[in-house]
């Protein structure tokens, strides 16, 4: 016995199909890993080293969504969930990733993407209060010593 008959008798076709499948799925898995590897690294750099950031950001976002009460930005009132303090805290967390000094339009863009409420008026209030300061080169930073003491969420 030889040739194709021998292959059939020895389950050669099945083994060949299995081999092809193993190689195919192996390569597909490798391609998937390579595709998402940069994203995973970026996520790790952004979050995994600072898990507190993610937890606090999520907490601030959810606490904002739970309340529909708008902040009275004109009066500066708004302590409590979704208030000025919360938005300020979330902005501070965002700027830790942007590094200081940061670009104000970028901060507003990112904050809006995160769904923070009344970003513009909050930033304006922080600027007027002197908590956030504009540099002469058009970049912005938090005023020295303006770091809020303690975390209202913790």
């Amino acid at each position: 016995m030889g040739g194709f008959s021998a292959i059939s008798v020895g389950n050669g076709w099945l083994i060949a199909a299995l081999g092809i499948s193993v190689v195919f799925f192996g390569l597909a898995a490798l391609a998937f890993i390579i595709t998402y590897f940069p994203r995973a690294i970026r996520w790790w750099n952004d979050h995994a080293e600072k898990p507190k950031y993610t937890i606090e950001l999520l907490r601030s976002l959810f606490s904002k969504r739970e309340t529909e009460t708008p902040i009275s930005a004109d009066t500066g009132e708004g302590h409590g969930p979704g208030g000025l303090d919360d938005v300020e805290e979330a902005l501070r967390l965002l700027t830790t990733h942007m590094k200081e000094p940061f670009k104000l339009p970028r901060l507003i863009e990112v904050a809006e993407q995160r769904g923070l409420a009344r970003v513009h008026s909050t930033i304006n209030r922080l600027l007027v209060k002197g908590t956030m300061v504009g540099e002469t080169d058009g970049l912005f930073r938090w005023a020295k010593g303006s770091k809020k003491e303690g975390n209202p969420h913790s």
Partner: protein
Amino acid sequence: MIPIDELKKYEILAELDPAELKFLSGMAEVTHAQEGEVLIQAGLPARTLYILQEGNLMVAFPDGRAITLHKPGGVVGWSALVSPTRYTASVTCLTDCTLITFPGSELLRLVQRNVVMGTKIMRNISKVLGRRLPFLQEEDRQRLREKR
């Protein structure tokens, strides 16, 4: 139409005499914008000059840098007076704003016809814009220098 006394309060119009202010008051209008509203988009044709009457503005330059205006009298949209009349920065309201608007083409015509008045206005606009020069692209700086 805006009262002459109101216009006189603003730095860029402070040197104008009553007759000149009367010309301007006829073309000026008050407009309101809401918090977060984009008043001016960089790169678009500049058709209006704005003077901030009340509120707060952010002027964002294409490279991501920005300045904020918090006092009445802040001027945005000066590109309406300088060829090729395209806005060089985007302007967003940080709070609800009230602004005095001047149609760029009419204002430009007035400035070109009345040299004395035009010089006063352009000199004051140049003063106001002096601190924005570092943020402008080289071609925009050149435009401003030529206009001076």
